[in-house]
Symmetry: C2
């Protein structure tokens, strides 16, 4: 396969990954009741993710990738993303916060690879878009990791209290 | 639940996670043929992971957690770890390198939460062990992310060449 062919497959993967992110962030934000900081940051990142999807669609168009065909494609990368869905479905906020961080890191790894592939495939015009998206993923990942001790502390306090919902 | 009860559950999870890491790293290192740098770093981290398991077992013992009972326990966290196994089974080196990075980040998030929980549960004696393990996971994650562009480049070159195995 040529670098372009591999690169185009990975662009489809990236789009599938962001669609996955959109549905997971939507599900997670709607479920959180007692952790308003986490919920607010997830809602912010959901909005960012919807913007990232629009940016990726300009990249797909520039590369002549038919988006209506792509919708039917189930890529290996999407399957990888789906394996996180089960994590997000966890009814425990600490594991949800961990999963959210891990998914961001999955996206960071994918864009890091995609930037290298765009260079080899000669799609220099898209590299700034990937770097822009990557910066949002890095910011979300950093926030998530910094917030994990706080979620853990809050969960342990609520879990030890009578008549208080701790898990979401 | 008391902080101690939650903490003890998470200690069992951490042990299950490292057992998962051990089996995934073993499988991955045995499969890689053409990417010697990645293989060598994975083998190094497999040795580190085996040391981490021994350290965790001292923590379990200090907390009076019966390890023979634990072997039968399948925790939610182990199930999360298992969702990565499918990724590692990927026959494509770029996705393998991404998965390996993502699993390290999963471990980083878990130890970050565990350190907060150990403080709340009063197991101060174990915190240095978790920090020591965390430092190894961070080093492996940093190496993995830095190496992703190189693996991507090598894969694209091999994939474009006739009669050359690219995917492992």
């Amino acid at each position: 396969m040529t670098p372009q062919e591999n690169y185009h497959d990975w662009l489809r993967d990236a789009h599938a990954m962001e669609k996955q992110a959109e549905s997971m962030l939507t599900a997670m934000s709607s479920r959180i009741d007692n952790y308003p900081d986490l919920r607010a940051r997830i809602e912010q990142h959901l909005t960012e993710t919807q913007g990232q999807l629009k940016l990726l669609e300009t990249v797909l168009d520039r590369n002549g990738i038919n988006r209506s065909v792509m919708k039917d494609a189930t890529s290996k990368m999407a399957a990888m993303g789906q394996s996180f869905t089960g994590m997000f479905a966890s009814d425990e906020i600490v594991k949800g916060a961990i999963s959210s961080y891990v998914f961001e890191q999955f996206e960071i790894a994918c864009y890091t690879s995609l930037i290298a592939a765009a260079e080899k495939a000669g799609d220099v015009a898209s590299i700034d878009i990937f770097k822009q998206i990557l910066a949002q993923e890095v910011a979300m990942a950093e926030w998530s990791l910094n917030h994990i001790p706080n979620v853990t502390d809050q969960f342990l306090l609520r879990s030890a209290a009578d008549g208080v919902e701790a898990k979401k």
